[in-house]
């Protein structure tokens, strides 16, 4: 484990910040005392089980719940017909044609993917609820199925949503610079017929769930749930349920992993709410693994068709153009934002100035796509990394030199991309050198020979990515000009209680990102007290007055928005504490310092008030003050500096910070079976100032593991009939201890000039592992007919296919240009 740091000034003097402070969350979690949603019980609660569609596309002719209702112990049922009466369709982010889509909590009239909830049953036990669900008789008329997004765009393809007039949900041409000029001046043009980014997600170990209570007196629902973005859920649910947002109280303590996959559970939550009201009892729902695989938040599957890359003789890459088909699955739950978020990283880490993407998003009879770690950018970054490696492969450039030459250079920072995004800071070439050093790049050729002597094909690959953090929600206006979202925000409150406890409340819903710990580190440094003296409330409660419209934990932003809010609120409290101390000591506020748990006169440390005294005065001992003592209670809303993007040019800064990751790996392929092993792996990460390096490294490791899984094992694969072939952990293999390679990590810190603490969001990573494994396989297979790697997911049998038939992949790439013509 190497850690290298470059010089970097931070806006905060380092005390606890920058230290590997042990996590506050850990004590309860290692003792099994965490509180996850399924752990919460209420008197008389009923268990909900969804009746799910066995068909990928069918008309619902009738639903008969009578047999289920007759089963003793069954409390009640809910069907799509009731939902259509009791609620309005969910608000759609999309403009036309996707905007016309009608999406409800349960299927209304039609089912569009296997596993879609068509009815719900509530009973006195989990087992009984499932028994009853089996007794719900649904009569279906099967319809033709389309599972390939390219086919769903063809004339005559089965139409999923008639109201959309076809299967297209969003279409837009994204073009910057002068693409035609770039190609006219190119010495070489590399053409790739099709590249495919596969469908998978992060499969958090804890499944979705909720415990919903309805208060008949106040008409309010309390929704204890592991939804990771209540701010989004509430704006989806409240209008659909025809109630005000304050009628929906969201409560969470611990969440067992989210990775974006727990953002779009709002349809199930609505079903729970309706049943809690209908049955007048608490309703508990916990999803099962197969339910999740079949229905929840798949990552966007994406095709890049007829790609062309313009390259100069010296290896300068001047532009690319491609036709993108994005597969949204059966419904738009957060989409088509995936159709725009990639543009935060349009040129990847490279200096491309001329870019054209003709982007079409289509629906298919598969599970709806929603955010997944690296949301939408990962697909695009895989594409940019693929074309860089294919250009090198086909034109004979050195992959390392080609990157070094085409990377955005440190002296260009902050760098404005062709579409107006601003890369805040970073030193990509230095990071590349570091990762090459970690993996022992200079020994690769020796190792290749040594492996060959064992009958193995060795390959080396690089994946260089950006993790763009802190969304400018104004980007949503690029897919729907009528939307009134822009900017971003997060809230924190900090108070000093009567006995001097410092209590911090966050608006976020962490799923392992250690917010309780890092928030306490920031607070302790500002208030000059011990990190253990800072109590950060676990979890989230929308009644705590510490949330805003964008509150939640998603899109790599806590280190900027969350800690920005914590810093702001703590500085307000510090000012109140100094003011109060100066009132007590009859001295100017400037003379007061906060240190060692005291407010004291800087040059007379004897004159010191413990925090307890400061807390007691406004709370319980406030008589006799000529003016009101400050309340020792501060609420701060952090708002990142954003403008609304230019909708015509699709131009503007879509995100605040850009963490950078460069991953490199070495694989060994068994040429007889296609089985391969990652024998060496290194990752360099730059997320600016690290509040807690060990926690940062933990996120890097997690993102790496997800990428390795996606590259080698994890895929939501469907057959032509719309069956998900990997509906459980038997067939959807999640890597375990024995599957993980040796890993070396290192960090570089180039503080962000744009954020309160010099931090950058970094939780998601950019799928670097997928990209470097694809590259390493392509490198390894040079020896066997030089196929190019055109899929993000390469299980053994696909590698075997490349080994046996390299010509199939060769046929997908062509080089033209002056020399050729």
């Amino acid at each position: 484990m190497t850690t290298v740091e470059t010089e970097g000034t931070t806006t905060l003097q380092r005390g606890f910040v920058g230290q590997n402070v042990p996590r506050k969350e850990d004590r309860r979690l290692v003792e099994g005392q965490g509180q996850f949603v399924d752990d919460v019980k209420r008197h008389g609660m009923g268990y909900l089980h969804f009746v799910r569609s066995p068909y990928p596309h069918a008309r619902i002719l009738s639903i008969d719940v009578s047999a289920a209702l007759e089963l003793p112990g069954v409390y009640g049922t809910l069907t799509g017909d009731e939902v259509a009466i009791l609620t309005d369709p969910f608000f759609q982010i999309a403009a036309e044609p996707g905007g016309s889509m009608k999406d409800y909590a349960l299927s209304v009239g039609k089912v569009r993917y296997i596993g879609e909830p068509v009815a719900a049953v509530v009973a006195e036990s989990r087992e009984l609820a499932r028994d009853a669900a089996e007794l719900v008789m649904v009569d279906y008329e099967p319809l033709d199925v389309v599972v390939d997004a390219r086919k769903s765009l063809e004339p005559g393809a089965p139409v999923l949503h008639e109201e959309c007039g076809g299967n297209i949900t969003y279409q837009g041409v994204w073009e910057w610079g002068d693409v035609d000029q770039a190609f006219a001046e190119a010495d070489h043009v590399v053409k790739i017929t099709d590249l495919h980014f596969d469908r998978f997600n992060s499969t958090p170990l804890e499944l979705d769930g909720a415990l919903v209570e309805y208060n008949r007196g106040t008409g309010q629902w309390t929704i204890t749930t592991n939804n990771q973005f209540p701010g989004f859920a509430v704006i989806m649910m409240a209008p659909a349920m025809r109630v005000g947002t304050d009628k929906l109280r969201f409560v969470t303590q611990d969440i067992g992993g989210g990775f974006g996959n727990k953002i779009t559970s709002h349809p199930q939550l609505v079903a729970c709410c309706l049943l809690a009201r209908k049955l007048n009892r608490p309703v508990q729902w916990t999803e099962w693994r197969t339910d999740f695989h079949q229905s929840m938040s798949h990552g966007n599957e994406r095709w890049f068709l007829d790609t062309e890359v313009a390259v100069r003789a010296d290896g300068t890459m001047t532009g690319f153009r491609t036709r993108v088909v994005d597969d949204a699955g059966a419904y738009l739950r957060y989409e088509p934002l995936g159709g725009v978020i990639w543009s935060q990283v349009a040129p990847g880490m490279y200096g491309w100035r001329n870019i054209r993407l003709d982007f079409t998003q289509a629906v298919t009879n598969k599970a709806p796509c929603s955010p997944n770690r690296g949301y939408s950018r990962m697909q695009h970054l895989w594409f940019t990394e693929r074309i860089v490696d294919i250009v090198a492969h086909e034109l004979g450039f050195d992959r390392v030199e080609l990157r070094r030459k085409n990377y955005v250079q440190p002296e260009q920072m902050p760098y404005e991309t062709p579409n107006g995004c601003v890369y805040d800071s970073g030193d990509y070439p230095a990071s590349l050198d570091l990762v090459l050093d970690l993996i022992g790049y200079d020994t690769i050729e020796q190792r290749r020979e040594e492996a060959a002597s064992r009958g193995k094909l060795l390959g080396f690959g690089i994946g260089s990515t950006l993790d763009s953090g802190t969304n400018n929600f104004g980007q949503s206006q690029l897919v729907n000009p009528d939307l009134q979202f822009s900017g971003n925000n997060e809230v924190a409150t900090v108070k000093l209680d009567i006995f001097g406890e410092i209590v911090v409340t966050l608006g976020t819903t962490p799923q392992g990102q250690s917010h309780e710990t890092t928030a306490a580190q920031v607070v302790a440094d500002i208030l000059g007290c011990d990190v253990d003296a800072v109590h950060v409330r676990a979890g989230h409660d929308s009644y705590w007055n510490s949330h805003a419209g964008f509150s939640g934990t998603y899109a790599s932003q806590f280190a900027v928005t969350g800690l920005g809010a914590v810093k702001g609120a703590t500085e307000m409290l510090a000012d109140q504490m100094k003011t109060l101390a100066s009132m007590v000591f009859q001295c100017p506020k400037e003379a007061i310092e906060l240190a060692d748990g005291f407010a004291r006169i800087a040059d007379n440390p004897e004159a010191a008030l413990p925090f307890m005294a400061l807390g007691a005065i406004p709370n319980a001992n406030n008589a006799g003050f000529p003016i009101d003592p400050p309340p020792m209670n501060a609420r701060f809303v952090y708002r990142p500096p954003f403008d609304v993007p230019d909708k015509e040019r699709k131009f503007g800064n879509l995100t605040l910070t850009y963490s950078m990751q460069i991953h490199a790996c070495v694989v060994e392929v068994d040429p007889e079976t296609g089985v391969y092993e990652i024998v060496d792996y290194a990752a360099v990460d730059d997320c600016g100032v690290r509040i807690n390096p060990k926690i940062v490294e933990g996120q890097v490791m997690g993102a790496t593991a997800h990428a390795i899984g996606a590259a080698m094992f994890e895929s939501f694969t469907y057959d032509d009939e719309g069956n998900l072939l990997t509906p459980n952990f038997y067939d959807y293999h999640v890597p375990h201890t024995l599957d993980m390679p040796p890993l070396t990590t290192a960090a570089i810190e180039t503080p962000s000039p744009f954020t309160p603490l010099g931090t950058k969001g970094m939780g998601e990573g950019g799928g670097g592992g997928i990209h470097c494994i694809c590259a390493a396989l392509q490198d390894a297979l040079r020896a066997t007919g030089s196929p190019i790697v055109t899929d993000s997911h390469n299980p053994y049998h696909r590698v075997f296919e490349m080994l046996r038939h390299p010509e199939h992949a060769r046929a997908k790439v062509e080089v033209t240009g002056r020399s050729a013509t």
Binding site: G32, S514, G698, A705, Y730, V734, H736, T737
Partner: protein, 160 residues
């Protein structure tokens, strides 16, 4: 226990040293018995196929997946769950998990710790490979396992 088939059975088990006697449906899995009937919610559920190990408990001293055992099969047995590990003090392994940042969301952690505890009981100073084999039946989606293996090694060395 009756040799005649029945859909409901009287179950007498010791869990974390405490004796419980309950009438339990034959079809109820041990994990649901622990979580729902005994309110021992530290044992988690992450899959539906016995693949993830989040529900690992010790059944008569041996780590098993409580989602692949019927509650009635545990009749007469002695069970330890994650709640039964720490007394007034956490175990060295629990401390090592925290010190080595071997957990993030903490959902797989109870199962991981139960598997690792069983390993260290038989083999106090395991090699890295022995640790990996012992934890292979436990899925973690947050950490990539590197820090978990490191933590178990450290606890093994007693350096935690």
């Amino acid at each position: 226990m009756s040799a005649l088939p029945s859909t409901s059975m009287f179950v007498d088990v010791r869990v974390n040293g405490e004796r419980y006697e309950r009438e339990v449906p034959a079809r109820r899995l041990l994990v649901h018995f622990l979580r729902d009937d005994l309110d021992l919610t530290g044992t988690h559920i992450g899959c539906d196929t016995g693949s993830c190990g989040a529900c690992t408990v010790h059944l008569d001293g041996v780590p098993v997946k409580s989602c692949s055992v019927l509650a009635v099969q545990a009749h007469g047995a002695s069970i330890t769950t994650v709640e039964g590990l720490a007394g007034d003090e956490q175990t060295p392994l629990q401390r090592a998990f925290s010190e080595h940042h071997a957990l993030q969301c903490g959902y797989c952690t109870p199962g991981m710790i139960m598997s690792a505890t069983a390993l260290l009981e038989q083999n106090p100073t395991p090699t890295e490979d022995e640790v990996k084999v012992a934890l292979q039946g436990n899925i973690c989606r947050c950490t990539g396992y590197w820090n978990i293996v490191e933590a178990v090694m450290a606890a093994g060395k007693g350096s935690a």
